[in-house]
Protein backbone atom coordinates (compact mmCIF):
# COMPACT_ATOMS: atom_id res chain seq x y z
CA UNK A 1 0.00 0.00 0.00
CA UNK A 2 1.31 3.45 -0.93
CA UNK A 3 1.85 6.25 1.57
CA UNK A 4 -0.96 8.19 -0.03
CA UNK A 5 -3.34 5.26 0.26
CA UNK A 6 -2.33 4.94 3.92
CA UNK A 7 -3.17 8.59 4.52
CA UNK A 8 -6.53 8.25 2.76
CA UNK A 9 -7.35 5.16 4.82
CA UNK A 10 -6.36 6.99 7.98
CA UNK A 11 -8.73 9.87 7.22
CA UNK A 12 -11.61 7.50 6.43
CA UNK A 13 -11.08 5.59 9.67
CA UNK A 14 -10.55 8.58 11.98
CA UNK A 15 -13.02 11.16 10.70
CA UNK A 16 -16.70 10.67 11.59
CA UNK A 17 -17.88 11.56 8.06
CA UNK A 18 -15.54 11.93 5.10
CA UNK A 19 -16.63 13.39 1.77
CA UNK A 20 -14.24 12.94 -1.13
CA UNK A 21 -15.29 15.62 -3.56
CA UNK A 22 -14.29 17.81 -6.47
CA UNK A 23 -13.53 21.16 -4.91
CA UNK A 24 -14.18 22.20 -1.32
CA UNK A 25 -17.43 22.91 0.58
CA UNK A 26 -16.71 26.62 0.03
CA UNK A 27 -16.06 26.17 -3.67
CA UNK A 28 -17.75 23.07 -5.08
CA UNK A 29 -16.54 22.14 -8.57
CA UNK A 30 -19.09 19.47 -9.54
CA UNK A 31 -22.84 19.00 -9.37
CA UNK A 32 -22.69 15.54 -7.85
CA UNK A 33 -20.28 16.64 -5.12
CA UNK A 34 -22.69 19.48 -4.39
CA UNK A 35 -25.64 17.09 -4.08
CA UNK A 36 -23.76 14.84 -1.66
CA UNK A 37 -22.66 17.82 0.45
CA UNK A 38 -26.20 19.22 0.60
CA UNK A 39 -27.61 15.86 1.65
CA UNK A 40 -25.05 15.61 4.47
CA UNK A 41 -25.78 19.17 5.60
CA UNK A 42 -29.51 18.51 5.62
CA UNK A 43 -28.92 15.48 7.83
CA UNK A 44 -26.88 17.72 10.19
CA UNK A 45 -23.75 15.66 9.69
CA UNK A 46 -20.22 16.70 10.53
CA UNK A 47 -18.31 16.81 7.25
CA UNK A 48 -14.60 16.34 6.66
CA UNK A 49 -14.04 17.15 3.01
CA UNK A 50 -11.12 15.97 0.92
CA UNK A 51 -10.64 17.65 -2.46
CA UNK A 52 -9.53 15.07 -5.03
CA UNK A 53 -8.65 17.62 -7.71
CA UNK A 54 -5.16 18.73 -6.58
CA UNK A 55 -3.62 15.37 -7.59
CA UNK A 56 -5.09 12.66 -9.89
CA UNK A 57 -3.45 9.98 -7.78
CA UNK A 58 -5.85 10.73 -4.89
CA UNK A 59 -8.72 9.49 -7.05
CA UNK A 60 -6.80 6.41 -8.19
CA UNK A 61 -5.72 5.37 -4.70
CA UNK A 62 -9.19 6.03 -3.28
CA UNK A 63 -10.82 3.92 -6.00
CA UNK A 64 -8.39 1.10 -5.30
CA UNK A 65 -9.26 1.28 -1.61
CA UNK A 66 -13.04 1.57 -1.88
CA UNK A 67 -13.79 -0.23 -5.16
CA UNK A 68 -16.05 2.71 -6.04
CA UNK A 69 -15.33 4.25 -9.45
CA UNK A 70 -16.80 7.74 -9.18
CA UNK A 71 -16.52 10.94 -7.14
CA UNK A 72 -18.03 11.94 -4.72
CA UNK A 73 -17.69 9.19 -2.14
CA UNK A 74 -19.19 9.42 1.34
CA UNK A 75 -17.87 7.44 4.31
CA UNK A 76 -19.58 7.32 7.71
CA UNK A 77 -17.62 5.82 10.59
CA UNK A 78 -15.18 4.22 8.17
CA UNK A 79 -17.89 2.63 6.02
CA UNK A 80 -18.58 3.56 2.39
CA UNK A 81 -22.16 4.83 2.11
CA UNK A 82 -22.02 5.54 -1.62
CA UNK A 83 -21.96 8.42 -4.06
CA UNK A 84 -24.28 11.38 -4.56
CA UNK A 85 -27.36 9.41 -5.60
CA UNK A 86 -27.30 7.03 -2.64
CA UNK A 87 -26.49 9.77 -0.13
CA UNK A 88 -29.35 11.88 -1.46
CA UNK A 89 -31.78 8.99 -1.53
CA UNK A 90 -30.87 7.93 2.03
CA UNK A 91 -31.25 11.54 3.21
CA UNK A 92 -34.73 11.76 1.67
CA UNK A 93 -35.92 8.55 3.34
CA UNK A 94 -34.41 9.46 6.72
CA UNK A 95 -32.05 6.49 6.60
CA UNK A 96 -28.99 8.71 6.48
CA UNK A 97 -29.83 10.20 9.88
CA UNK A 98 -30.36 6.69 11.23
CA UNK A 99 -26.98 5.59 9.89
CA UNK A 100 -25.30 8.66 11.39
CA UNK A 101 -26.90 8.00 14.77
CA UNK A 102 -25.92 4.36 14.66
CA UNK A 103 -22.30 5.09 13.75
CA UNK A 104 -21.65 8.37 15.57
CA UNK A 105 -24.14 8.40 18.43
CA UNK A 106 -27.54 10.04 18.79
CA UNK A 107 -26.01 13.44 19.62
CA UNK A 108 -23.99 13.64 16.40
CA UNK A 109 -25.65 16.90 15.35
CA UNK A 110 -24.22 18.73 18.37
CA UNK A 111 -20.71 17.98 17.10
CA UNK A 112 -21.43 18.88 13.50
CA UNK A 113 -18.74 21.01 11.90
CA UNK A 114 -17.32 21.29 8.44
CA UNK A 115 -13.64 21.13 7.68
CA UNK A 116 -11.40 20.44 4.74
CA UNK A 117 -8.23 18.42 4.98
CA UNK A 118 -5.51 17.61 2.49
CA UNK A 119 -3.96 14.20 1.88
CA UNK A 120 -1.19 15.39 -0.44
Amino acid sequence: MSDLQDRIKDVIEKEPVTLFMKGTPQFVMCGNSDRALRALREAGAPVTAVDVLPDPSIRQELQELSGWPTIPQVFVGGELIGGADITQELAETGELEKKLEEKLGTDYKSKAEEKTISVV
Binding site: C30, G31, N32, G67, W68, P69, T70, L80, I81, G82, G83, A84, D85, I86, E89, L90
Partner: protein, 77 residues
Protein backbone atom coordinates in the same frame (compact mmCIF):
# COMPACT_ATOMS: atom_id res chain seq x y z
CA UNK B 1 -22.86 6.83 -29.69
CA UNK B 2 -22.01 6.46 -26.03
CA UNK B 3 -25.68 6.29 -25.00
CA UNK B 4 -26.27 3.15 -27.09
CA UNK B 5 -23.06 1.55 -25.86
CA UNK B 6 -24.01 2.09 -22.22
CA UNK B 7 -27.47 0.72 -22.86
CA UNK B 8 -25.99 -2.35 -24.53
CA UNK B 9 -23.63 -2.98 -21.58
CA UNK B 10 -26.51 -2.65 -19.13
CA UNK B 11 -28.74 -4.99 -21.16
CA UNK B 12 -25.97 -7.60 -21.08
CA UNK B 13 -25.58 -7.22 -17.32
CA UNK B 14 -29.32 -7.08 -16.59
CA UNK B 15 -31.04 -9.21 -19.25
CA UNK B 16 -34.12 -9.52 -17.02
CA UNK B 17 -34.53 -5.77 -16.40
CA UNK B 18 -38.14 -4.54 -16.31
CA UNK B 19 -36.97 -1.03 -17.01
CA UNK B 20 -33.68 0.12 -18.45
CA UNK B 21 -32.97 3.63 -19.61
CA UNK B 22 -29.91 5.70 -20.38
CA UNK B 23 -30.42 9.45 -20.66
CA UNK B 24 -27.80 11.86 -21.93
CA UNK B 25 -28.47 14.62 -19.40
CA UNK B 26 -26.72 17.46 -21.15
CA UNK B 27 -26.71 16.32 -24.77
CA UNK B 28 -22.92 16.34 -24.67
CA UNK B 29 -22.57 12.56 -24.62
CA UNK B 30 -20.74 12.30 -21.30
CA UNK B 31 -23.21 13.16 -18.49
CA UNK B 32 -25.58 10.26 -18.03
CA UNK B 33 -28.54 9.25 -15.95
CA UNK B 34 -29.14 5.50 -15.93
CA UNK B 35 -32.27 3.88 -14.57
CA UNK B 36 -32.47 0.13 -14.04
CA UNK B 37 -35.29 -1.90 -12.49
CA UNK B 38 -34.35 -5.54 -12.08
CA UNK B 39 -35.29 -8.46 -9.84
CA UNK B 40 -31.55 -8.81 -9.19
CA UNK B 41 -31.80 -5.78 -6.91
CA UNK B 42 -34.48 -7.30 -4.70
CA UNK B 43 -33.29 -7.42 -1.11
CA UNK B 44 -29.93 -5.82 -1.89
CA UNK B 45 -28.78 -2.66 -0.07
CA UNK B 46 -28.60 0.42 -2.33
CA UNK B 47 -24.82 0.43 -2.27
CA UNK B 48 -24.67 -3.11 -3.66
CA UNK B 49 -27.28 -2.26 -6.29
CA UNK B 50 -25.12 0.65 -7.43
CA UNK B 51 -22.00 -1.52 -7.32
CA UNK B 52 -23.63 -3.88 -9.85
CA UNK B 53 -24.39 -0.96 -12.19
CA UNK B 54 -20.88 0.47 -11.76
CA UNK B 55 -19.42 -2.96 -12.54
CA UNK B 56 -21.47 -3.22 -15.74
CA UNK B 57 -20.17 0.20 -16.79
CA UNK B 58 -16.57 -0.34 -15.65
CA UNK B 59 -15.09 0.23 -19.11
CA UNK B 60 -16.83 3.52 -20.01
CA UNK B 61 -16.20 4.70 -16.44
CA UNK B 62 -12.48 4.06 -16.61
CA UNK B 63 -11.81 5.20 -20.18
CA UNK B 64 -13.36 8.63 -19.69
CA UNK B 65 -16.50 8.06 -21.79
CA UNK B 66 -18.58 8.79 -18.70
CA UNK B 67 -17.73 12.11 -17.15
CA UNK B 68 -20.68 12.13 -14.77
CA UNK B 69 -23.02 9.30 -13.86
CA UNK B 70 -26.27 9.34 -11.98
CA UNK B 71 -27.78 6.02 -11.04
CA UNK B 72 -31.32 5.13 -10.10
CA UNK B 73 -31.99 1.48 -9.28
CA UNK B 74 -35.23 -0.24 -8.37
CA UNK B 75 -36.08 -3.76 -7.35
CA UNK B 76 -39.27 -5.37 -8.53
CA UNK B 77 -40.52 -6.71 -5.20
Amino acid sequence: MATEWLEQLLRQAFPDADELRVDDRTGGGDHFQVTVASPRFDGLPLIDQHRLVNAALAEPLSDGTIHELRIRTKGTA
